[in-house]
Amino acid sequence: MSTHAAELGSNYLTNGFSLKSWLLTKDHKRIAILYMISITFFFILGGLFAFAVRLELLTPAGDLMEADTYNRMFTMHGVVMIFFFLIPSIPAVLGNFLVPLMVGAKDLAFPKINLASWYVYNLAGIITLGAIFMGGVDTGWTFYTPFSTTYSNSYVVLTVVGLFINGFSSIFTGLNFIVTIHRMRAPGLTWFRLPLFIWGHYATSLIIMLGTPVIAITLALLAAERSLHLGIFDPALGGDPILFQHLFWFYSHPAVYIMILPSMGVISEIISAFARQKVFGYHFVAFASIAIAILGFLVWGHHLFVSGQSVYAGLVFSVLSMLVGVPSAVKVFNWTATMFKGSISRETPMLYALGFIGLFTIGGLTGVMLATLGFDVHVHDTYFVVAHFHYIMVGGAIMGYLGGIHFWWPKMTGRLYPEFWSKLSAGLVFIGFNLTFFPQFVLGYLGMPRRYWSYPDEFQVLNVLSTAGATVLGVGYVMPLFYLTYSLAFGRAAGDNPWGAYGLEWETTSPPPTENFHHQPVVTGEAYDYPSLEAKSV
């Protein structure tokens, strides 16, 4: 099969080697690679900030850095990781690469806008980096007013300008996906034959389109308030700081689903491929994505349980927040049912997928706990919350991202990576992750507040465990950088479909040609038809 690609010669990687052919490309696959490079940079940067935070917390006293420096460290960790890594990671890298391939299109609907989104992302990144190098920002990634508008003496305006601009890259990507999925599907590819990866990205794009403008204008108002003394959020001028929290979480809660829904799409692909089964309850998994997207917009108030909103508002938001657990659980149960009686092979992507299910389940269940009013009041703004959202966002989104990168690496590069090292790193990530964040549940329950740079002595053992775990996790994260780069030069040729997976992207060569397919694909079967694939190969 791989000789097939060689015969045809040109693929998207060999189609021009100059810098210009990359920087001015309109090929969605090359843009995905460009995004991967930028995003990896921000992931390392955000990880370094996290490591500084964990090092400071190794001892009870604030001995490594000043409280003010510590505030800047965790703020920049949050800002960089959320806005420049977690939100764009899977859509911009895997989604950009795979959405047109999976729907059998030659490219995304608006290739120029797609390229523009990468430039906008980098411009936003440079502005935010500028704020970091000038001294950073100390408000926490949530920018709560009136601290951010009035009292903070850090680079708030520059940072939010960067995030405002970054919003456009998100919107461009989401808009491109929706139009492509609506208008550019291959003949025969009906909505209910679409891979669940596509459903996940469709739901994500809806959230991006409806949510991102809200955070954009909110941050613009914040900047206007700080620089022009517009008083929308300033109580001294008749404004309401709680309004900021409402508007902020109207986007930033759904943003969690922007991170997690594409990841769930990845997991559906991987699990069916390595269990060699149709995804159990395909329609339910697809609709669960849409349900999560819709419900996600109705739950922001659970961030304001202790803000003084009315008990009734708290009650409604509590119930609605628990409801998100239903479609999430539907997915987890359906993945489990997909594996039932499947012939499971434990390749690296599958290890990540299994890790995802475990971590996401813990994150989801603690989410239901936090949605409960009384419990939330007890653990509000403690490490319990920190552990919960890291289980969801890091355990969910990064496991999906890494799983997806490993799964489609042969398609993207035409090379296989060393199996031993990749499995070792997947194991280290899983162990390191749990060692880092599980102790934080206990810490939070015992009452250690988040965002403090020092703590009472009795919390030290758990904090040392957590920092040790972070080190293991860091090693696990860094390893793929080396063996994946190594595989580019020395990896075995992958062939078109090394996993024997089902889906349009596996029917073209690895790496795919610039036009994606040599002939217009026509779809005649349902998604994930592994049983018939098995029957054919016998």
Partner: protein, 219 residues
């Protein structure tokens, strides 16, 4: 007349698909715009509820005559924009250019009137900030903060709307070139259609801004 086949981007099957894609894309973009303005409308409604009397008083200081004039101008520009799109669709080159120019003129008149209105606010110290000074023109001395909030929102909302007008006018001006060259044909006129949608959207925002800021609560 240019060859319509050359307008087909490489990744689309035919011009119909390309046209549907660009118009869907534009509609989706407008959805994001609704959410963008929606935040300000939402804030306006909340603060109006909280400072009812002050908002009513403050809205009296706006010049209803200029506001009504601008509303008429903007609706007129929507008509000329619609005619420009129609001319492009049927391939009337000169009419397209003229209607684009007319739309630009009407849009500029709107912005000019806005400048007059804004400068009046500066004269009367109705711009929020250190120099803000409010005297209730009709009877009750209402709270200063509430009135200032009204002007906060007035400037945020009409300012954001004006920025959208400026962007719209800039794109109109750019599109005059291909219109002059006769690029738009019955087969291919996507940019004109998309710009038309944008322009009408900006008009509609004003149709909501005008009653909210100028009319309701007036006595």
């Amino acid at each position: 007349m240019s060859d319509s086949a050359s307008m087909l981007a490489h990744h689309f099957d035919d011009l119909d698909q390309q046209r549907e894609a660009s118009s869907l894309g534009m509609w989706l973009f407008l959805v994001t715009e609704i959410m963008f303005f929606g935040v300000l409308f939402c804030a306006y409604l909340i603060y109006r509820g909280a400072n009812f009397a002050a908002f009513a008083e403050a809205s009296h200081s706006l010049d209803i005559g200029l506001g009504a004039f601008n509303t008429a101008v903007l609706i007129g520009s929507s008509l000329t924009m619609a005619l420009a799109v129609w001319s492009a669709q049927v391939g009337r080159r000169k009419a397209t250019v003229w209607f684009l120019v007319l739309t630009i003129i009407l849009g500029s008149v709107f912005l000019g009137v806005k400048v007059i209105e804004y400068s009046a606010k500066f004269e009367h110290h109705h711009v929020p900030g250190a120099t803000f000074d409010w005297h209730a023109p009709y009877g009750d001395p209402v709270n200063q903060d509430g009135a200032e909030m009204f002007f906060n929102l007035y400037f945020a909302m009409t300012g954001l709307h004006a920025i959208h007008m400026v962007i719209g006018i800039a794109i109109l001006a750019v599109l005059i070139i291909p219109a002059w060259q006769g690029k738009f044909t019955p087969e291919w006129h996507n940019p004109m259609e998309c710009l038309g949608l944008y322009w009408h959207f900006v008009d509609i925002v004003w149709i909501f801004l005008f009653p909210l800021l100028y009319l309701i609560g007036r006595h």
